[in-house]
Amino acid sequence: MPATVTPDTVEATITEALPQFGVDPSEISCDARLEDLDVDSLDLAELSQILEDEYGVQLKGEDAKKISTVGDVIDLVVSRAG
């Protein structure tokens, strides 16, 4: 069963995942822009895999254009899961 989806749980998942990609943990916040965190399309593909694993939500193709901040990713996952 996918984990319970709340903005807090998704944020926790992302906060745990991004440092594995080399992102400085102290720079991660909802307002942080992915570009500023040096999170590119390949990182996003890896993050998507983790989020799908955890919440059963797929982020694919067109979604990348709608996402510019960590908060955007959280909102999209929460709305899809709901």
Binding site: Q20, F21, G22, D38, L42, A45, E46, Q49, E52
Partner: protein
Amino acid sequence: MRREVVVTGVGAVTPLGVGARTLYERWRAGESGIENGLAAATKFDPTDHLSVKEARRADRFSQFAMVAGDEALQAAGWDRDDLPYDRARIGCVFGTGIGGIGTLERGKEILLEQGESKVPPLSVPLMMGNAAAGMLSMRYGLLGNSFGTVSACSASAHAIAQATRMIQYGDADAVITGGSEAALTPLSKAAFASLDAVSKSGISRPFDARRDGFVMGEGGAALVLEDAEKASERGAEPLAKVRGFGATSDAHHLTAPQPEGVGAAAAIRLALKDAGLEPQDISYVNAHGTSTPLNDRAETMAIKDALGERAAEVPVSSTKSAIGHLLGAAGAVEATATILALRDRIAPPTLGWEEREEGMDLDYVPREAHPLNINGGPAIALSNAFGFGGHNVVLCLEV
């Protein structure tokens, strides 16, 4: 008139440690990087040199390339933020035998154990054979022609040859070249073993009568090649000249060399012709010398055939006696070691050589390094690299 090409910087990661001088000095001193029948780059820790992001965006073979590349650029006196030439005039040609096979094997395990949806998205960009060439062009901002060369154990010699032509012909003013390999993986080790190419004794003793196959190694080397005139204008002090190369094919067998070394001899002759030299100009041969029964005999015949009477006078040694066979990285690593040996006017030894085989009667530099007999002239060497598929590449280097 074609342009002259010089080597202005070298870098290496090998089973003898990190650094080109470490490789050369330890080999010259008779030290071996082989342990328990394998020549792993055990002193290399990617996190010593690369950020988390850089390291995880690169298979081990590309990690070797980046660390060797950084050393080579520094040795050449290049400022990475202010390159000495127009970026569009700097290329990158970098070889590998197999590429990211470690990444491929992990991806296959995940596919079988966890299913398609869990296969890492980084699988393809890490395993592709041109990944190191692409990473280096991005790392240094090189906008000229860049690509990978794939010709098994002659891949990085082909890379250096192609880089040389690009500069000679005027297509580039400088090229970062070399090659790397990281194939000490379960599939690759088992596959080479089942081919009966790998030494069962675990000993690399090229040209010795008891040799029984090669010892697998890993690592890489990078060289900065520049147009000699432009290098001189910027005040660089070249380490060596690339005088030329010869490249041929055996068209004989997928893995076995042509038994009399006909293709290899032809490559040596072409290298001499390309360099405008005669056999008597050669003062050292860095052999491909794998320690396999077939290669070392065929290579000996090739050297005798192509160099004629000079073959009996020229020291011939194999770097693989100290670091095993670095497969696609071998040509670049051995060219690097050759350049540093020429600078010292030294022929490093073929470690472990003791027993002569009938008909294999060259000076294989047993036991210890000895000085080159050059009477104050330039020191000129041939560096041989031959690959499965029947590819033969011979580089001609001068210091």
